[in-house]
Symmetry: C2
Subunit: 239 residues, 2 copies
């Protein structure tokens, strides 16, 4: 059995300008790994309609799932829902179910459900709403595209709403070994071991600590027996 | 004068698996913003030859500069140099200048300049070496593609070697205002202000602190007078 694949699209001028540091990607990567969906690509694009449309089309076409983060609030720069609708060939408008959710939310809070807030009820036709237990304004799933907020705690709550509905594959296992030798010293034997286990992925990640070279060796795969076996070999070589 | 544009390509199974958190992107974003080069897109792809080749072709064709991070070490999973060479239509081999640098480095360290380490001298024909004051193994620039290491302190040293050689544009200025109101409350007036300043980019970034909604409003542009003027208007509206 092979693993379903995924891509993530981050809509974020504020990340590209260096003003903020994305944390959603790291969160999603770990959650997907846990349920056996392989995150294969991430793109970060600016808040520009045509660029979002192009990225959604490319990524939704190439992977089992596409997760987006950012750009679904009430302000003029929140253009993700319209761009995703266009990319997926769907009409978009203020949908009754989302309007009702938001109306009830602002009524409870004693705040006006004004035009800007109504913008958050713009949902493409045919999409399913994604529950937002933090601040009500929903995300949505259309086809294989899951559209979520950029604010980290809302993003995480939406991920928790969506993932249980998806079919994962066997968990993507990994084991790592830290060795106090530089990559250049272990590369030949490590490469030979990798060649012996074509179904596993082996990576080496060098670091420098107190001026000394070291390497983290990582073995990844879905077959626990193979991963264990390869790790035993690795420990015999460098442990 | 418009600003040159840039994209970044991170080669990194270890980021896609969630094992490590990328920091090079945030560093490069800030450095580029400072010298007036607009980072417009970031992609993270797996350590897979065809995917690196496709991403390099797409991004180098679309932006003034492409910066890559990762995959230029001595192990079997370091495949960036060969993929970039293919994408740029260049031959690649062990280049004499890089071999000489590395030979001298390992001679000084009293370490064998073995086959794995020689792999780091694989540089495409026609590329210029990027200085690596941390660990010698060079990056390279070919055409508009700047190929750098993934280890953060080496990446940063290579960025410092490369950026002074590039022509930037006017600095990308930004000012921000933190308001203790939710986006939905300020969206209409903020959107109207943004429409009045078509040469500036205005974004709003909501947060929740101690259960209360707040928003960071950010104004970006290259014209300092316009940015100041818009910020004064913003302060009068919400300050």
């Amino acid at each position: 059995m092979t693993n379903p694949t995924a891509a993530m699209l981050v809509i974020g001028d504020e990340i590209l300008s260096g003003r903020t540091r994305d944390s959603n990607m790291h969160y999603l990567a770990n959650e997907l790994t846990r349920i056996g969906i392989a995150l294969r690509e991430v793109r970060i694009v600016a808040d520009v309609h045509v660029e979002i449309v192009a990225a959604v089309r490319a990524l939704a076409g190439q992977y089992t799932h596409l997760f987006t983060s950012g750009g679904i609030g009430p302000t003029h720069d929140d253009i993700t829902a319209d761009a995703v609708a266009e990319a997926m060939g769907a009409a978009i408008g203020h949908r009754a179910d989302a309007m009702a959710l938001l109306q009830a939310h602002y009524d409870r809070a004693g705040l006006p459900f004004n035009e800007a807030r109504q913008r958050m009820a713009r949902i493409p036709d045919g999409a399913t709403l994604i529950d937002n237990p933090v601040s009500t304004a929903p995300g949505f799933t259309i086809g294989n595209v899951h559209v979520m907020a950029g604010v980290p705690n809302i993003f995480q709550a939406m991920v928790a709403s969506v993932l249980p509905k998806l079919t994962g594959g066997p968990p993507l296992l990994s084991q790592s070994l830290r060795v106090n030798r530089g990559e250049g010293e272990i590369a030949t034997e490590f490469g030979a071991l990798a060649a012996e286990f074509p179904d596993l992925s082996m990576g080496s990640y060098p670091f420098i600590q107190n001026g000394a070279h070291g390497t983290n060796l990582v073995i990844r795969g879905t077959d626990a027996v193979q991963v264990d076996l390869a790790m035993q070999r690795l420990q015999r070589l460098f442990g």
